[in-house]
């Protein structure tokens, strides 16, 4: 893989999606030579993979911040996904920051 043509680590999902869209438009215009077309196609493949990896980056996790000994820490909690209710309401009472 050439350097610089790789999706840079700072690239956002939005930028990658936009670039993907631009490649599609360029290829659809049919003005590129075969070599360039294939190069663009390879770039598109890398961008699509990058987008998919970005979508999967988050790890489904609900945390509640709480105070303990002057420090604020995060405690992971379970949630009923149907209602969005947290499954341990009692502990949360009075746990305001």
């Amino acid at each position: 893989m050439e350097k610089g043509k790789k999706a840079s680590p700072k690239q956002t999902f939005e930028e990658a999606l936009k670039e993907l869209e631009e490649i599609a438009a360029k290829l659809e215009a049919g003005e590129l030579g075969l070599d360039d077309s294939i190069q663009e196609f390879e770039k598109a493949t890398r961008l699509a993979a990058f987008c998919h990896s970005k979508l999967e980056e988050a790890e489904r996790r609900i945390e509640i911040l709480q105070k303990g000994g002057g420090e604020i820490s995060a405690r992971e909690v379970a949630v009923k996904s149907g209602t969005g209710e947290i499954e341990e309401d009692e502990e949360m009472q009075g746990s305001l920051l």
């Binding site: 939005e14 599609a24 790890e59 969005g84 947290i86």
Partner: protein, 427 residues
Amino acid sequence: MEIDVQPQFITVTELNRLVKSELENCPYLNSIWVKGEIFNLTYHSSGHIYFTLKDDNAAVSAVFFRNYNKNMKFRLEDGMSVLVLGGLTVFEKRGSYQLNAVSVKPEGAGELQKRIEQLKKKLTAEGVFDPARKRPLPFLPKRLGIVTSPTGAALHDIIKVALRRYPNIEIVLAPAKVQGDDAPVSIVRAIKELNRPQWRIDVIIAGRGGGSFEDLMPFNEEAVVMAYYNSLVPIISAVGHQVDHPLCDDAADAYAPTPSAAAELAVPVKSDLEDEIKYITGRINTSLAASLDRVKARIDSALSRRVFRDPGEIINMREMAVSDLEFRMASSMKGLISAHKERLLRVPDICMLERHILMNKKHAFVLQLQAVEKLSPMAILKRGYTVVTGKDKKIIKSVEKIKAGDRVEIRFHDGFAAAEIDSVTKG
């Protein structure tokens, strides 16, 4: 001595009945706004609310029946200053009366409204609500921060909507008190906490579900509005309301009328994004396949041309081109020659032209000669002037040069005359 005449009287029962009838049928007392402070408040299990309404000098019992109070947007409190709309009821048995409330308004609401307006004016002048400083929300937030009550429905709504749209999103709740006097401090602290880099929050939703005007007051407090304004992480205000926006809405980067709507603003639908990627890559595959087909078609058509099938053909073609060139050279030479010939034939005409020019020049010369002639002294004499000369034959130009008795000669254009001067007069 006693006068045994009984005065006219009525019984207590009659008195109370009379008073009841008078008061309850008095149109003025039937429906009247009374201002006072709440005292001895009781929320009864039946749903009725009992209290005493008082001011500095007087008190009256009041009851607020369940049918009338069930739609109330706020909770009454002892010491609260209120306006009560109601009518009077008299209890005959005790000879007392009470106010039957049908509506209760917090008396301070007008004051609060005024305070909000003033704060709004001040913060507008400071640029806190400037739309130009609003940032776009992140396209794909990985970590969503929430500032709200840990026990309210707002939290459940946000989590539910967020997880439905983006099942693997990460959510961090900073629990805050969203109602009452200490709510502002709590909300400010929670917003600040979520701004700390260690939580890596991409977007914050801060707010609460709907409530009465008083319930939403913390979100009109200057400290809270400024916490929204100062949030480095893009922040969405989500305070449930029907009519008036709380001030924090205008200081936030975006706002929504309900917590659920805020979650929809903040969190994209993951499957939509996946579909979009699929759609674009599909288009790319299709057009690459099409351009491969085009290249293949070009190769095919090139291979099928006659040159490749019969190389002798190309020699024939070149020969034809050479003879075509020869023909074109010959005809262009012919053209050149006939053009020259035509020019030569035009020569006599040129002589005629020159002769004409000479004639014109001669005529002009004669005219000029005539003009010169007009200027000669003879021509002037012809027009009636004469020249006088003295004995020495010199032209006399002034009377100074002659005196009476001098002999002079007068010259005309056609002869001379001799003359003697009689007298001389100057000037």
